[in-house]
């Protein structure tokens, strides 16, 4: 007799669970369906494609690991990877160092107008599309009628022919990217900075720490997770750089600005080597994944959870 109520409640609970399962899957179903069609499916398909040689016209041919061996012997892949790593590291360093300096500066009790103007001027370029940024800067850096060369000349510096000189094209693109995306890093770092409790600074001040010591021993340790996050997100974004290389230089001069994603794009949509392009894409994926997992580990260690 005593087991009857238990049985009833189990049945009822199963019923509720069943309904809850149904409701859960009902709510996630639009996202899941689209996810399968547009993300998971293509992801699996890309892995499969990397085993084929296919030009989209003649039938696909299974080649096994041939694309991978070709990749290791492809000098352009290595050159593109080198360019991309140089770009990404330079991007991380310039974004984090200058971005942090700017965030610390704007976080000071300056005049409201100064804060507003600086914040707006630094942030706004981030909202312009790469297409517009690329076209604009192509003109700004033009040796004949661009303002950059003109004003540098006026202060006695003979500028290089930025986009034509293989030594200067990549640094020029690093600079353009900085102008375009520093606003993002700046905002992230400023938000992180504002979470540093003012009382810590007061305490350090009373202990006689100067501004530099307070920055080094109070601000930086508290900012560490935000800094790592900003570094990783900047690295991942920079590693997938495509637009300025495609629009401004198209990889030139003499391959000095060819990024790995630009090479992937050219293989897929100009040479129509979709199998080989997928293989290159897998390399990009592997690198992005390693860096992301590294960030997860680091942030877990810092926060102790999640």
């Amino acid at each position: 007799m005593s087991s009857a109520p238990v049985a009833v409640s189990t049945v009822r609970r199963r019923g509720i669970e069943g309904r809850s399962n149904l409701a859960g899957w009902f709510f996630v179903s639009p996202a899941v369906l689209l996810f399968i069609v547009f993300i998971a499916g293509p992801f699996v398909a890309a892995m499969g494609l990397s085993l084929f040689s296919w030009d989209l016209l003649t039938p696909a041919r299974f080649v096994g690991m041939e694309n991978f061996t070709r990749l290791f012997g492809d000098a352009t892949v290595w050159l593109s990877l080198r360019n991309t790593f140089v770009f990404a590291f330079a991007s991380v360093v310039t974004h984090i160092v200058i971005g942090l300096a700017l965030a610390v500066a704007v976080n000071r009790p300056l005049h409201k107008v100064v804060q507003y103007v600086t914040r707006s001027a630094i942030f706004f370029p981030f909202l312009i599309s790469w297409a517009a940024v690329s076209l604009l800067w192509k003109y700004v850096l033009d040796p004949d009628f661009g303002i950059a060369s003109y004003y540098l000349g006026r202060i006695g510096i003979t500028p290089p022919n930025w986009l034509i000189d293989p030594q200067w094209a990549l640094p020029a693109l690093i600079g353009i990217d900085w102008w375009h995306t520093i606003g993002y890093t700046f905002v992230i770092l400023l938000a992180g900075l504002q979470t540093v409790p003012g009382i810590y600074h007061e305490a350090a001040k009373i202990d006689g720490a100067n501004a530099w010591q307070r920055f080094w021993h109070v601000t930086l340790p508290i900012m560490a997770p935000t800094l790592v996050f900003a570094m990783i997100i900047t690295f991942i974004g920079a590693f997938q750089i495509f637009e300025p290389m495609r629009i401004i230089t198209d990889g030139g001069p003499s391959d000095s600005t060819r990024s790995i994603v630009l090479y992937l794009y050219q293989q897929a949509f100009e040479s129509f080597q979709v199998g080989y392009a997928s293989t290159i894409a897998l390399v990009v994926f592997a690198i992005v994944m390693i860096v992301t997992l590294l960030q997860l580990r680091l942030s877990r260690r810092w926060m102790g959870h999640d």
């Binding site: 547009f38 293509p42 398909a45 100064v114 599309s129």
Partner: protein
């Protein structure tokens, strides 16, 4: 700060201690003024290319691109803007951009909201596994999925169709994750009370959760809209004819004009694309910055 030494005691020692503090305060003030000047100069450097862009776009062809640049065009002209249409159908492209961005944003908001609600409020079999799979997918770069999707769209005859651009954007894994985090921070007491009153999940979601999640929703809306509106990579692969192009791809079509006569017209076109964004930014600056800060910090 400077008064503290005097008010605390007025004795000799207090004065001696206070003196350097006064000087440090003054030094700090000078430091802040120097810093302000540096920041303003830097801000000018940031906006000089944009000022040059806008002034050149309203300069006559004959006077444009003179060095030193004329920062104030006399007289300003809108003639360059009238010529854009002879190079690219910019109105049509703006409309395409709007269609793509609105549909992608609305779609992603809807699917993310529904999924985020399930992940934060409904215990269902496979839910946790599914969520982990979605999280892992955040690491998959678009460059990997774009090739099979190009083949898919080609098979479906959707190449050079706006749907190829907005349809894949109606699911956004980051959006799901971002909203779930926000929903999880809303106390459960509210929806449990509603549930006891007999409210279903849909009612709880739309009448209780969504109004409370407005800050997150508006941040995500700005983030998604901005991302689709400015996207170049995706539409440059899928859209091929001028009539189907979005603004970023259309702008790049003007490349051929570089160095030739109508460079001013190219400047007018870039300005026509940038200026509305600038105006929106100046009006809703706070929302823009908060959107980026919140979506970034929680990513």
């Amino acid at each position: 700060m400077t008064e503290s030494g005097h008010s605390s005691g007025g004795g000799m020692t207090a004065r001696l201690v206070a003196a350097p503090r006064v000087r440090r305060g003054a030094r700090q003030k000078v430091g802040d003024i120097v810093l302000s000047v540096v920041l303003i100069v830097l801000s000018l450097f940031m906006i000089v290319p944009l000022v040059w862009l806008i002034t050149t776009s309203v300069t006559t062809r004959a006077e444009a691109f003179q060095l030193p640049p004329r920062w104030i065009p006399t007289p300003p002209t809108l003639a360059n803007y009238a010529e854009i249409n002879s190079l690219i159908p910019i109105g049509r492209m703006a409309l395409n951009s709007l269609i793509v961005s609105v549909l992608a944003t609305a779609g992603a908001l809807l699917t993310s909201t529904l999924a985020a609600y399930a992940f934060s409020r409904i215990r269902f079999r496979g839910g946790n596994t599914l969520f982990s799979v979605l999280l892992a997918a955040l690491m998959v770069p678009v460059q990997l999925t774009v090739i099979p999707l190009f083949i898919l769209m080609r098979t479906l005859g959707l190449v050079d169709n706006l749907a190829a651009v907005w349809l894949p954007a109606t699911v956004n894994v980051f959006g799901i994750f971002f909203l779930r985090q926000y929903f999880a921070s809303i106390p459960r007491d509210l929806d449990e009370a509603a549930r006891i009153d007999g409210a279903g999940h849909l009612r709880i979601l739309f009448q209780i959760m969504l109004p409370l999640a407005m800050p997150a929703l508006s941040a995500l809306t700005i983030f998604l809209f901005e991302a689709t509106w400015n996207n170049y990579f995706w539409p440059s692969i899928f859209l091929q004819s001028n009539e189907q192009m979005t603004l970023p791809v259309g702008l790049v079509q003007l490349q051929g004009a570089v160095g030739g006569g109508p460079a001013v017209v190219v400047f007018a076109a870039i300005t026509a694309v940038v200026l509305p964004v600038l105006i929106l930014f100046l009006i809703f600056q706070r929302s823009f910055v908060e959107s980026i800060a919140s979506t970034g910090l929680k990513a």
